[in-house]
């Protein structure tokens, strides 16, 4: 029963969805501050390669090494986000072009590939990786076992992050200020909120989340390094923020939905199930479904009622307001 296609898809949907969830939570924080960062894919890849580098080079015990790897991945993502933050907040560059530039700079044919080559990381299995850690009696429970208890610690950490961010946005002073900055920076400025500081802080936090998301791919899902290993997950994460109407709890549902879709292709191949051009449609499915859902939420009333932060994508210059 625990090996039926549905249970396996739900369980691996959660696993595959976790990097999407981390990345979209980070993007959500940046966008709530009014900064659109299209560099998620690039930040994820740099986090992925630096996290992988850490486990290959650090000789400490597994728990310590993996913790360190996640910290380094977060720092790497933060540094990448800092470039974007400086360009769009201080130098007032176009957020769209700067984000694209970040993905080109850091992405599959840029810095992440350079680091992977320069540090000789390709074609080796990871020395340490995340594995399910709860007692096996729990993991063997029918249906719920693999889905809820057969996950790595990252999954439970991501749940804690969802709760923390939801509370942060709705129940704390800084969270409310953040929303003000994203909706109307001029009003927030009048209230005495430091708009630039909020924007910097949350863009950098978004980078840290993207870095962790990347390392989740290379240390938990496919423990190895290949150029462009995230395969567009960063872009799906950006789309996810839109479907989730900028709310963390909906990000969680969406991430697992798309995670399950990403898990479908390898699972069908492993079971040798053929339905027409299986490789073609099962690999394309996550991308096509993302487009379908984007169309559904972007048209008509859904958009008007639960819209994006009003100042998303626009620089804030005090003298020009």
């Amino acid at each position: 029963m625990n090996h039926s296609l549905l249970v396996v898809l739900l369980a691996s949907g959660i696993a595959y969805g976790t990097p999407l969830l981390f990345a979209s939570l980070g993007e959500l924080l940046a966008e709530r501050a009014g900064v659109l960062n299209l560099g998620v894919e690039g930040m994820m890849l740099v986090g992925a390669v630096m996290g992988f580098w850490t486990v290959q080079r650090v000789g400490a015990g597994t728990p310590l090494t993996l913790t360190l790897a996640m910290v380094i991945a977060a720092v790497a993502g933060t540094l990448m986000a800092a470039i974007h933050a400086f360009l769009v907040i201080t130098l007032r560059a176009s957020q769209i072009v700067s984000g694209l530039a970040l993905t080109i700079f850091a992405g599959a044919a840029g810095l992440s590939s350079y680091l992977g080559n320069d540090l000789n990381l390709a074609d080796q299995p990871a020395r340490h990786s995340f594995a399910p850690f709860l007692p096996s009696t729990l993991q063997k429970l029918p249906v719920l076992g693999p889905i809820l208890f057969g996950q790595t610690i990252l999954v439970y950490v991501s749940w804690a992050c969802v709760v923390a961010i939801a509370l942060y946005l709705s129940r704390t002073r800084t969270g409310l200020n953040l929303r003000a900055v994203g909706e109307s920076p001029a009003a927030a400025d009048t209230m005495g909120v430091n708009v630039s500081l909020y924007r910097y802080g949350h863009t950098l936090a978004g980078g840290a989340f993207a870095g962790v998301a990347g390392a989740t791919v290379t240390l938990a899902i496919t423990p190895q390094w290949v150029d462009g290993i995230t395969g567009g997950a960063g872009w799906i994460a950006i789309a996810l923020v839109i479907f989730a109407f900028w709310r963390p709890e909906i990000c969680l549902v969406g991430a697992y939905f798309f995670g399950a879709m990403q898990a479908l292709a390898p699972e069908l191949q492993a079971r040798n199930i053929q339905l027409g051009p299986t490789v073609l449609w099962s690999n394309s499915l996550p991308y096509v479904m993302t487009i379908v859902v984007l169309v559904a939420v972007s048209s008509g009333t859904a958009r008007r009622r639960l819209g994006a932060p009003a100042a998303l994508g626009t620089p804030y210059v005090r003298e020009e307001h």
Partner: protein, 386 residues
């Protein structure tokens, strides 16, 4: 007495002409300084690397020919991006539109081509088919944007992955019309069916560096640049697109049919990218390249965005920048190895783009730095004297 440095940004009322040239040039110089620091930090000698880079890009025997081969697709994808970005339609799907253009153009070439020399009719059909293929693929994000206001950045990008899977499927996972099925090699490693000789595009030899071939595609790219320039600067279409790019509301009030215009611009952009795909078939690969490590590994569509942004969306500047970035790409391929790791070229491109973006500030704002004495300290004695 204390002094305070005060930095203020003042909006410029007009942009001086010299700045629009000086700022990009200055950005590139600054970028190379930044890259030199990165190279030094990672234990490379920047001067040696730059010299090698320049030799491999332009000076070595045969270098210019390879640079043209790398630059031609970038000119197409750069023009595709420029045509759309100009009106703030961010089509980042040139990559996928190029694949689809390559597929349709190869179909035309395989179907119509025969033995004998290059045939203008067959080549014309391939050009048309490539344009139509790219155009069709670009219509998906275009129509979704026009009718449902769906973000075209995400849809056009996600479709790149889908187009990549289609391309791989046609050569590797099916017995399609494009796949070579005869011969010994076909059973060992799947490849595209070679184009018949009349579907292979001609080259013109220039007597330089011992003879370099100028591909037909490079000439077509210049023609396309001229067409895009004419369209945007000399026609009603261009003016309306420009207005729409600045303000959708203003465009609507002045009677521009917004939906139609969005779809037309996306179609134009996709057709140019698709033409780039046709040029890949006809000029360089002479078959449909479905290998995930072939055409798909090049990332022409993404580099085209760098090219377009550095050329500030001016079609002729885009062609020139494509040539320079093509040199960089070519040098990267030639030098690739332990002392020049893959990915370095992407890093350099990214840094150049960041510097150009940052430098943009200087064309919009005047930076005024003033040193003035602390006003409170200066006022205090005056107050006391009163």
């Amino acid at each position: 007495m204390s002094r305070r440095t005060h930095i203020a940004l003042e909006q410029r009322l007009s942009r001086p002409r010299w700045l629009t040239v000086a700022v990009p040039v200055g950005s590139v110089v600054f970028a190379f300084v930044v890259v030199a620091v990165v190279l030094l930090a990672t234990g490379h000698n920047p001067l040696r690397e730059y010299r090698q880079l320049f030799d491999a890009a332009f000076l070595q025997r045969g270098a210019l020919e390879q640079t043209l081969i790398a630059a031609t697709p970038l000119a197409f994808t750069g023009l595709a991006a420029a045509a759309a970005f100009r009106m703030k339609l961010y089509n980042i799907g040139a990559e996928g539109q190029m694949y689809i253009g390559a597929i349709t153009a190869a179909a035309a070439g395989l179907y119509l081509g025969g033995s004998g020399g290059a045939s203008p009719f067959v080549i014309g059909a391939m050009v048309a088919a490539g344009c139509i293929g790219g155009l069709g693929w670009a219509l998906i994000p275009g129509i979704l944007r026009a009718f449902f206001k769906t973000n075209e950045i995400l849809t056009s990008l996600l479709l790149n992955y889908v187009a990549g899977y289609v391309l791989t499927y046609l050569i590797f996972e099916s017995q399609s019309y494009w796949r070579q099925t005869k011969g010994f090699n076909a059973s060992v490693f799947p490849t595209g069916k070679p184009l018949p000789s009349s579907a292979v595009w001609p080259t013109w030899t220039i007597h330089l560096q011992g003879g370099i071939g100028l591909p037909l595609g490079a000439g077509l790219a210049v023609v396309v640049a001229a067409i895009v320039w004419l369209l945007y600067s000399r026609t009603r279409f261009g003016v309306e697109a420009q207005v729409l790019g600045d303000s959708e509301r203003a465009a609507r009030y002045s009677g521009v049919r917004v939906r139609r215009k969005i779809i037309a611009v996306m179609a134009l952009s996709g057709a140019i990218a698709g033409l780039g795909g046709a040029s890949q078939d006809g000029d360089f690969r002479h078959a449909l390249d479905g290998d995930p490590n072939g055409l798909q590994k090049q990332g022409f569509g993404y580099t085209g965005i760098v090219v377009a942004a550095l050329g500030r969306y001016n079609p002729f500047a885009v062609v020139l920048i494509a040539f320079l970035i093509g040199g960089l790409e070519n040098a990267g391929n030639t030098l690739q190895g332990p002392s020049f790791p893959a990915g370095l070229v992407g890093v350099i491109q990214g840094i150049i783009l960041f510097c150009a973006l940052g430098g943009e500030l200087l064309t919009r704002y005047r930076v005024r730095v003033t040193w003035r004495r602390d006003t409170r300290a200066a006022l205090a004695p005056a107050e006391a004297a009163r």
